[in-house]
Amino acid sequence: MKNFLKKYWIIPVLLIITLIGFSAYMYNKPRKNIINAGVKYKVSSKKLFADFESNENQANKRYLNQVIEVAGNVKEVSKNPQGDFIVVLDSDGGFGTVRGTLIKNQKIVIEEILPGDAITLKGICTGMLLDIILVDCYVMEKV
């Protein structure tokens, strides 16, 4: 065994370095890049709102923290006090809508999105307040 380690000492050293490197990578890994993230569900804004409205607990189990694509008609585009764009999709929910806070890096010019436009938002669902909330959103397409 001693002879083996003397000859192949580099193997455990490399293993330890790899382990430390992997741990450091995992620890410092930034949040999910939404542009490349895999999509769990594709749903319309009306269906998403209806799912939460009919059974919030069940909808939480399905959508919470998942990357989803939501297609719908734009109700409003605004900015929050921090300067991020907010896109609100209609849901037929009366009071409630689907609200997405956009990431800065977008391929579509957000200022050109108008109420009534049909778009698809890709984002992470964080749940329901008055509206269904999506964060880290990316505008996939504008029809």
Partner: protein, 186 residues
């Protein structure tokens, strides 16, 4: 009556509807962050989708936010926060419901600054505790900007920190909120 089904949050907000709309202001993009200094690493997260309604007639305020909406720089930290500490799947929302006393009569029709004494119940991780804090209100060009900060002791809300990391995570976190309210017209 369809809207009444939307959620308990809405029912809570409708509870404030006994007064005239002119005195009520809302934000759906309130910003709440928390920060704690710890020996190993400082912890900071931001939530920019906080819902809050303030009623200047009854001096009531209701605020609610999604725990999953707190965003950290590091993915692993966010995962641990949601899965191990606040158990967001089981307790998805944090809520504050309380009353405020201004230092002077608030005039919403002209610009001005006010200080408020705020008392109420804060619910995090399914545990409700009374809190008292100070806040400021700025009336400017028809909008109302509210700001506050207060300390929260993690163990008061039955949030258990594993023994392995207990020395690296602060027991108290500083919660800071700033809300830009607009008139509530619905």
């Amino acid at each position: 009556m369809k809207i009444l089904k939307i959620s308990g949050v809405l029912a809570l907000l409708i509870g404030l509807a006994s007064t005239s709309f002119a005195q009520k202001f809302i934000t759906k993009n309130g910003h709440t962050s928390f920060y704690s200094e710890a020996p190993m690493e400082n912890i900071e997260a931001h939530n920019k989708e906080v819902l809050s309604i303030i009623d200047f007639d009854s001096h009531e305020i209701v605020t609610t936010m999604l725990m999953n909406g707190f965003q950290f720089k590091k993915s692993l930290m966010q995962e641990h926060f949601n899965e191990k500490y606040v158990e967001s799947d089981q307790y998805p929302k944090a809520t504050f419901k309380g009353k405020f006393t201004p230092n002077d009569a608030i005039d919403l029709n002209k610009d001005g600054n006010y200080e408020l004494a705020v008392t109420g119940d804060l619910t995090i991780h399914g545990v409700t505790k009374p809190i008292e804090t100070k806040a400021t209100i700025e009336v400017k060009n028809g909008v109302v900007i509210g700001k506050t900060n207060f300390n929260v002791k993690v163990k008061d809300f039955d949030i258990t920190i594993p023994k392995v990391v207990v020395e690296n995570i602060a027991e108290t976190v500083l919660v800071t909120s700033d809300f830009t309210y607009s008139p509530y017209n619905n």
